[in-house]
Symmetry: C2
Subunit: 461 residues, 2 copies
Amino acid sequence: MPILEHFENEHSSDQLQRLNEALQSGMFMQVRMMLNELPAADVAHFLESTPPKERNILWRLINTEREGQVLQFLDDEIRNEYAANMEPAELAAATRHLEVDDQADILGDLPDKIVKEVLASMRVQDRHRVEHALSYPEDTAGGLMNTDLVTVRPLVTIEVVLRYLRMKGELPVATDCIYVVDSEDKFIGSVSLSTLITSQPDETVEQVLEKDIHPIPVDQPDDEVARVFERRDLISAPVIGKDGELLGRITIDDVVDVIIEDADHSLMSMAGLDENDDTFAPVVTSAKRRAVWLGINLITVMVAASVIGVFEETIAAVTALAILQPIVPSMGGIAGTQTLTLVIRGMSVGHISDNNFRWLMMKELGVSVLNGLLWSLVVGMSVFLWFHFVQHSEHATYLGITIAGAMVINLIAGATFGAILPVMMTKMDIDPALSGGVVLTTVTDMVGFFAFLGLATVFFL
Amino acid sequence: MPILEHFENEHSSDQLQRLNEALQSGMFMQVRMMLNELPAADVAHFLESTPPKERNILWRLINTEREGQVLQFLDDEIRNEYAANMEPAELAAATRHLEVDDQADILGDLPDKIVKEVLASMRVQDRHRVEHALSYPEDTAGGLMNTDLVTVRPLVTIEVVLRYLRMKGELPVATDCIYVVDSEDKFIGSVSLSTLITSQPDETVEQVLEKDIHPIPVDQPDDEVARVFERRDLISAPVIGKDGELLGRITIDDVVDVIIEDADHSLMSMAGLDENDDTFAPVVTSAKRRAVWLGINLITVMVAASVIGVFEETIAAVTALAILQPIVPSMGGIAGTQTLTLVIRGMSVGHISDNNFRWLMMKELGVSVLNGLLWSLVVGMSVFLWFHFVQHSEHATYLGITIAGAMVINLIAGATFGAILPVMMTKMDIDPALSGGVVLTTVTDMVGFFAFLGLATVFFL
């Protein structure tokens, strides 16, 4: 994405409001005018915020030459839909002026057949650049990098470099430094634009270059790239191949997109949703997607319910158990989710390793034991008091003891599984953010029912 | 934070591993040497990943002159602990070389008394700058901005500007452009370093300046600043006061911190955790913090259980109801959480407004009706078949009908509340990410138990 595209309008939310009113009242000419005055990022945002029917009208009102700009800012699902419906030649023309990593991004998600046709209708040089970009997996440094960079040799003087740059007339967007390479194109170091400006003209590049910059390997996963940028406060970084040859550069704006997407992924996948799905997708599309998650949950809750089935006789003897039955599983699930979330986040920021995992697990167990004792006392007493003084039940004492004991057991189970699950799942290559919660609550439900009704059976049968 | 501090070591994770081994085997001299060779960000990360006892040893091994650097990278909770324990003069000395926004960040969280003492031991000029930075709320543009910037007047030539910059010898870190102001210091526009380099020396600043840059008001909330940076792919932006006077600039590295903190907040607060808490906090500290969340949950689950209590007679008549009882609330909770998450995220990225909320709610209802019909059919049939053919229960037909009917009702309730809750809570100034899930599942539990046991009462009593 271009870094220096600044905003043409200060009050964009007012504009969006007026745009919406014009759309509602069917003044399409006006909508078209307003749409094409807005920055492309705002148009994309407006499309994303509009239900499908109106969205299709809006899309047709956008000037052809801006379609590529808008496409690059759209969420994956919507973008793929529109891109796949464009004529290959039209798509090639629309994306011609984008940066090569953004072109590759748009094409990368489309069916192979369309990609081939689009590539075929590009100019030869463009096609080679895009094909090259497409050859790197999207979620690696190679997929993030741009190939337009300025390189110089170490022995030229600053004066020569400045003259050369002035002759070029324009630098690639978001250029904050130029790169120094040897005769075999191997990366040596970089010189920031501010160094160029503040150095003496007769100094050589070699005298002022920054060597302490460690380039990013082209196959590094994008989340690791993001962590390096974050930790080092980088604005751009060079990307190198296996033999140290300079291949391109990654700029912070694309890294910010990775960071936001990863965060979105954690949040959405906890509810079994996909961060790339369209919020305003049609009912049937959404219903189909959500059905799977509900189905998985149905299976897990039926498994948990089957544990209750084992103790049907006990419940028949003391119906009060059915009333108290949700409390223990629920508390175990909450305590376990806290540990699970803490560990998943600790792993994702790199705080948790083999060195400290045992310590952390012992700590989480300790927390659960303390809270287990505290809340089992509270709940045990409340249950006793209620059933003794209000319900005048003969079972009050045992009901209190049962629920208190089961609570301690389940809170400990929650902490243990909450800590172990993400580690186990990561080793098995399963995303703990996606399924950790479901597995955990299935476990705490089962342990909760079993501990509560099992203890009750000991006391009452 | 400094933007151009690049990483001094490629294999930092190997280094951390060796550091850990040295620490475990008590070779403190070696640990000290290794610690002081690592970049400050890595030292901070290592401290964050270490349990409290070893962490305190490590902190004492860090060279005094690096303490400020390390402090600025530490998580809030740990940083506050160490900063508050330093002598005021020592803290003033340690933070002297930091950027003013980072100094203000460190001081801002400390008790007023300490801040006063630290300020008193600073040099006058430094003190004024920090006091000025502290006067802006931390979570606004003013709290994010730096005041070290290069300004020029519109009528000077590029040649003069370049000569002036060369004389300065060094530009503030992360300078990607210089700012143009009038005689009253009001912001006019900016000139990027690449424009400076590629323009003709005899052109004036006025001829090449970029006017399309809309500066950020000093009181804009930091999450809005982050959205502007993200949407416009900015690297830096000027900050202005009420009368258009240039006050400072915000750089992308500080914005990335805001983005990451916001994402962390959403994720952690869903489990009732605080993103600033130390993962390796002592057991008692953590237990106290978590106790509140467990207590809130205990109250909500007891309220839900009281709904079951209303139907004790029905359960006494048909014990099978106790077994099936968790299924309907669970499914409603899952469906509701999906809608809730979708709406919370849609609101936070700005996709949802008054214009499209009705549409979205109708869509979510539609999704729940479809999935309600599908899964109530599945669960109704399963329950009928199981109780009829396996348990030979006379109640099989009605149990199937009851659970199917209750499921449809509860899925609709889940979608309705999942959509309305975040809107309502935001209007009441409550963070829906923090408490939305708890309120929602309390509702779906209650509706679930009421619908299931209520329908059962109609059929069986």
